[in-house]
């Protein structure tokens, strides 16, 4: 078995514990089924391109992107725990290279991101099935969002985990950053109609682009703007992945 596959196996074993699974499944379900229906009283419909979505459908599709981002937290947690509990050095005195280690983290978050996206799509489908417009780019767009989003947000989590020394610092920074990404985005509410500074802030956030791509796939609303968002996502993912890889390669032992 290839060393990277063995490390991915190990990463999945240590990460997929009850707490993480509950976080990954229950948390989005609460948003979709509790917040989604509760806010319907306030938000009857959300304008989306040339159509109008009901709020549960809007938030369920947003939660796919949100869950992809959340799943990448495990990348930072794996690196952080490995450094904290001595496994980083232990792996690097074993039959592995740093490249194996970095690739295994990327594959791990890619797998978890895809599974998360599939899971939330399956769970959320009853809510947005009325508005779904399946076409030949629906699945490629969702898969693209899963993979690019995993690499992008996984790289951010990795960068944070390599730069911070204390566990308190790590938790505060990673939670603050991911909280910003989650709520200053179009995952929960549309950019249209929000105050100008806030809607601008939405578009400084890669989660907005990720969610837009997912929604474009599900609701058949692909446009030039979504195409530009995809290019931005690829560029950001590449830049952040390069930085994360360099930082991990230089991490002192």
């Amino acid at each position: 078995m290839h060393p990277v596959i063995r490390l991915v196996n190990r990463n999945l074993t240590i990460s997929l514990n009850k707490g993480f699974l509950i976080w990954q499944v229950i948390f989005p379900l609460i948003y979709i089924f509790v917040a989604g229906f509760a806010y319907t009283a306030l938000i009857h419909s959300v304008p989306f391109g040339n159509k109008s979505l009901d709020y549960p459908a809007f938030i369920a599709s947003g939660m796919i992107g949100f869950n992809i981002m959340n799943s990448t937290l495990i990348s930072g947690i794996i690196i952080w725990n490995d450094r904290r509990h001595g496994m980083f050095e232990q792996i690097l005195v074993g039959p592995f290279t740093r490249a194996h280690y970095i690739l295994s983290n990327i594959y791990t978050i890619g797998i978890v991101g895809l599974i998360s996206a599939a899971l939330i799509t399956a769970v959320g489908y009853p809510l947005f099935f009325k508005s779904v417009e399946f076409n030949f780019y629906t699945i490629p767009l969702v898969v693209f969002a899963s993979v690019t989003g995993s690499i992008l947000f996984g790289s951010i989590a990795s960068i944070i985990s390599t730069r911070l020394q204390s566990s308190e610092g790590f938790n505060v920074v990673i939670n603050t950053v991911f909280l910003f990404f989650a709520f200053v985005s179009t995952a929960f509410y549309p950019a249209e109609g929000t105050p100008e500074p806030l809607s601008t802030a939405f578009y400084l956030n890669p989660l907005t682009y990720l969610v837009d791509v997912v929604r474009a796939g599900i609701f058949g609303n692909f446009s030039t703007f979504v195409g530009i968002e995809m290019i931005v996502l690829i560029a950001l993912a590449l830049i952040l992945f390069t930085i994360a890889t360099k930082l991990l390669s230089k991490l002192e032992l």
Binding site: M1, R6, L7, N9, R10, T13, I14, N17, N81, H85, G86, M87, E89, Q90, I91, L92, V93, G94, P95, F96, T97, L253
Partner: protein, 297 residues
């Protein structure tokens, strides 16, 4: 700690002890030998492989128990052994057998389902050392493996290591506990301030640096002034404790002992107990390190 001019060769199927005071360069040397860091100059050849050019090939053939703890906090003991074997590409059936063997050898049966995070420091250390035997290797680096272990667990570990060496494994072993090194090692090197200052078998080191012997004589309470009687004997050290214990520390301790026995005999002072303390590796270590510090090397 920078290391300089380290020139070591370790014979296979032996236990090589690497001793030194804190900050002497032991861990740096281990990091170099296990390819965690690269030297600024020089060569490192491990098992016939150039460790600088082919570090991965070296790592495939060695095992390493680092000084700092390393564990998967969310895994149970049994699972962490099993997964470690998987990481080393050990066949599933072999993994299963080895897990059982190691759980038993390291007295981990009772805690096999406990999570690593919930273990005591000593239990975690036992798991860490046991884990390294999940895979095949030609050379094992043990960096202070017994830290945090109770005497029974420590002896169990040392005996397990001895057993593995009899089966052909080579061990590179560092410790602060010098009677462990004496019990285990076929050969030892002493490092100080980044330089090797002595390399030999423990017995040869004792011959080279351990001429001074300690002899203890116990005599009964006597009205005679024993210290007064021994005044004439020179070039040695006598400690009179509570008037009944005489301790001789000398390079010519046998000669001094004869003179003292004669004086005691002439004065009709019986001997209650007489013991010769063998030179320990700890004494040799202190002598060698102190000599090195005094000479500035």
């Amino acid at each position: 700690m920078a290391v300089d001019g380290i020139d070591l060769s370790v014979n296979s199927g032996r236990i090589f002890g690497f001793l030194g005071p804190n900050g002497a360069g032991k861990t740096t040397t281990i990091k170099l030998l296990t390819t965690l860091i690269a030297p600024t100059s020089g060569t490192i050849n491990i098992l016939g492989i150039d460790a600088i050019r082919q570090p991965l090939d070296v790592r495939k053939k060695i095992g390493v128990v680092l000084q700092q703890p390393s564990y998967e906090p969310t895994l149970g003991v049994e699972k962490s052994l099993e997964k470690y074997g998987m990481m080393w590409n050990v066949e599933r059936k072999t993994r299963k057998d080895r897990v059982e063997e190691l759980l038993s050898a390291f007295d981990l049966q009772e805690i096999r389902n406990m999570k690593n995070d919930d273990l005591s420091i000593g239990q975690r250390r036992r798991v860490q050392v046991a884990r390294e035997f999940m895979h095949d290797m030609d050379l094992l680096f043990l960096d202070e493996p017994t830290v945090g272990l109770d005497p029974s667990a420590r002896r169990g570990l040392l005996d397990f290591v001895k057993k593995k060496v009899k089966e052909g494994l080579t061990i590179f072993f560092t410790t602060h506990i010098l009677n462990e090194a004496e019990y285990l090692c076929d050969e030892v090197a002493i490092i100080n301030k980044g330089k090797i200052i002595a390399v030999d078998t423990p017995d040869e080191l004792k011959n080279k640096f351990g001429r001074e012997k300690t002899i203890k004589i116990r005599i009964p309470e006597t009205k005679k002034d024993v210290s007064g009687l021994l005044v004439g004997i020179k070039d040695y050290e006598i400690d009179l404790n509570s008037g009944t214990n005489i301790t001789i520390r000398s390079n010519d301790s046998e000669e001094v002992l004869l003179k003292i026995l004669q004086i005691l005999n002439v004065n009709n002072i019986p001997i209650e107990d007489l013991s010769v303390m063998p030179t320990t590796l700890e004494e040799i270590f202190l002598t060698v390190v102190n000599n090195s510090n005094a000479s500035g090397n």
